[in-house]
């Protein structure tokens, strides 16, 4: 445990050093120094304006996540239980997952206009497919012996779903949710970059517009820290469910 912590420290130190060297190499026009960036990030966190943007992003991200997770699980469970429908839909879902959804921004803007609904729609089209695909595979991969056991024990379908299917499929579904949520965050931020008047993505666009390098990097750093924390906590839940839950 101690050596892990030491490794993390060395790794973080190495990254900071690399960053500092890049700064020396290319200059402040292109990259701000780590010290200046972190100080700017701290300044931003203490301003009111930042939290107004953060709140706008969070509400869109929260709504998009809920829709992605609920919709993805519903689609995934349905397709997972129906072999034929799953076989039919699986390559279509795969294609929808892999198309560069950023190209759809004109369509989303035309359909939803500027504002929170476009941001949510952007988040959902990014996040819903991985959740659906992972859930479908999770439900399909539940070992047949579990089904037979449930049958022999004469469990009702509700009990089967609650006590056998859910625990068996949950870890993989959670992995899908983790990936889906990261992409939902990306989608929401992309939506803000192209289509909004508030939010962290909008603050980024404004910083890009006036070429405020320190602001761009400070905001990106904050987004990254948020994403890493979110990812780590979902990882933790996933592991807990897999081993101890």
């Amino acid at each position: 445990m101690k050596s892990t912590r030491f490794d993390y420290l060395v790794f973080a130190g190495g990254l900071l050093m690399l960053w500092q060297l890049t700064y020396y190499a290319v200059g402040a026009e292109i990259v701000s120094s780590p010290f200046a960036t972190i100080r700017r990030a701290l300044e931003l966190v203490l301003t009111n304006a930042f939290w107004v943007h953060a709140e706008a992003t969070m509400s869109a991200f929260g709504a998009a996540s809920l829709i992605s997770i609920a919709g993805g699980i519903a689609i995934g469970v349905w397709l997972g239980l129906r072999r034929f429908a799953g076989d039919v839909a699986s390559p279509i879902l795969g294609s929808l997952y892999s198309i560069p959804k950023i190209t759809l921004y004109p369509l989303i803007l035309l359909a939803f206009g500027l504002g929170i609904s476009a941001k949510i729609a952007f988040g959902v089209i990014h996040g819903i497919f991985p959740v659906a695909i992972f859930t479908m595979n999770a439900v399909r991969n539940v070992a047949p012996v579990y089904h037979r056991t449930a049958h022999i024990m004469r469990l009702s379908s509700v009990t089967t779903a609650m006590t056998i299917m859910a625990p068996a499929a949950l870890p993989e579904i959670l992995a899908g949710i983790r990936i889906g949520i990261a992409l939902t965050l990306l989608g929401t931020l992309i939506g803000e970059l192209f289509a909004s008047t508030s939010g962290i993505g909008f603050a980024l666009v404004r910083a890009m517009g006036i070429h405020a390098v320190t602001d761009i990097l400070a905001l990106t750093l904050l987004i990254f820290i948020f994403a890493a924390l979110l990812n780590a906590s979902l990882h933790f839940i996933e592991r807990w469910v897999r081993h101890g839950g």
Binding site: T4, D7, Y8, V10, F11, V26, E29, I30, V31, F84, D87, V88, A89, P91, I92, G94, S95, S98, I99, P100, K101, I102, T103, L104, Y105, P106, L107, L109, L110, A111, A182, L183, L185, L186, L189, I190, L193, F194, G201, L204, M208, H211, V213, I216, L219, T220, I223, F224, A227, A228, L230, N231, A232, H235
Partner: protein, 262 residues
């Protein structure tokens, strides 16, 4: 016995294929009729047949050939860069477990940050043009390749490795003849994802600021309410990505079947 199983499988596969085709055709027909009767207005979306006609017109007239070639070249360069760098970094991380463990949080949170916020910085560094776009695309694609290279090398069965040592292969042959084929299904997954992400990076860059390219044309048509051109180009881009992606997944599945476990 085997014959009946294969014929059953074949009938099932064709049934699935037929149902899938029917589903896609029905969806398109629904969209077409909703557009035609005016439920969806033309400012938002044009009927799929008009998109296809516009796509055909774009290809036939050749007026965007330069843009298409520009984007294709950039995407190819970005993919080459992303897959080679990703493979190298993935192999290094795989051989140094301590480094790999500490970089894991970085890699798994990477795709939540919109990487193209760095695009303006790249423009300052390299100017408006190919180089900034290619680096942008490679930055997007590289992490998918790193992660899948590590996964692939993880899945090389120890027994296969041992066979290599028993045959006294040198390090290079061990890599080329044993480990790469055993890891190949995941490497192809990495390439497939790197393709998808590189396209995102490059098209996003072209949306934001570029002198030519498919993304630039789409953004320009959008700004000028030229829905015909916009949807034609969109369709071309999406069809291209779907075809490449499907071809790579067919290959991937074949390798999975050939080299055992998933």
């Amino acid at each position: 016995m085997t014959g009946s199983i294969t014929s059953w499988l074949r009938s099932r596969i064709s049934k699935v294929g037929a149902a899938r085709t029917a589903l896609i055709v029905l969806t398109l027909a629904l969209l077409e009729s909703l557009c035609r009767i005016g439920v969806l207005d033309r400012i938002t979306i044009i009927p799929p047949t008009e998109m296809a006609a516009s796509l055909w017109d774009i290809l036939k007239s050749g007026r965007f050939n330069a843009d298409i070639a520009f984007t294709l070249f950039n995407v190819a360069a970005a993919i080459a860069l992303a897959t080679s760098a990703g493979f190298f970094v993935g192999a290094v991380l795989h051989s140094v477990p301590r480094l790999r463990r500490v970089s894991e949080p970085l890699l798994s949170a990477y795709y939540a940050i919109p990487t193209f916020v760095f695009y303006p910085l790249l423009i300052v560094m390299f100017g408006i043009g190919r180089v900034a776009l290619i680096i942008m695309g490679a930055m997007f694609g590289v992490v998918a390749m790193i992660v899948n290279t590590m996964l692939g090398l993880d899945r090389v069965p120890p027994a296969v490795d041992k066979v290599g040592s028993i045959l006294r292969l040198d390090a290079l042959r061990q890599l080329v003849l044993i480990r790469l084929p055993a890891a190949s299904p995941h490497l192809v997954t990495g390439v497939r994802l790197a393709v998808a992400y590189s396209v995102i990076g490059i098209v996003a860059g072209e949306f934001i600021l570029a002198t030519s390219g498919m993304g630039k044309r789409i953004a320009f048509a959008y700004d000028n309410f030229d829905n015909k051109t916009m949807y034609g180009m969109l369709l071309l881009l999406l069809v291209g990505v779907v075809i490449v992606n499907s071809a790579l997944s067919v290959w991937e599945n074949r390798l999975h079947r050939r080299f055992g476990q998933r």
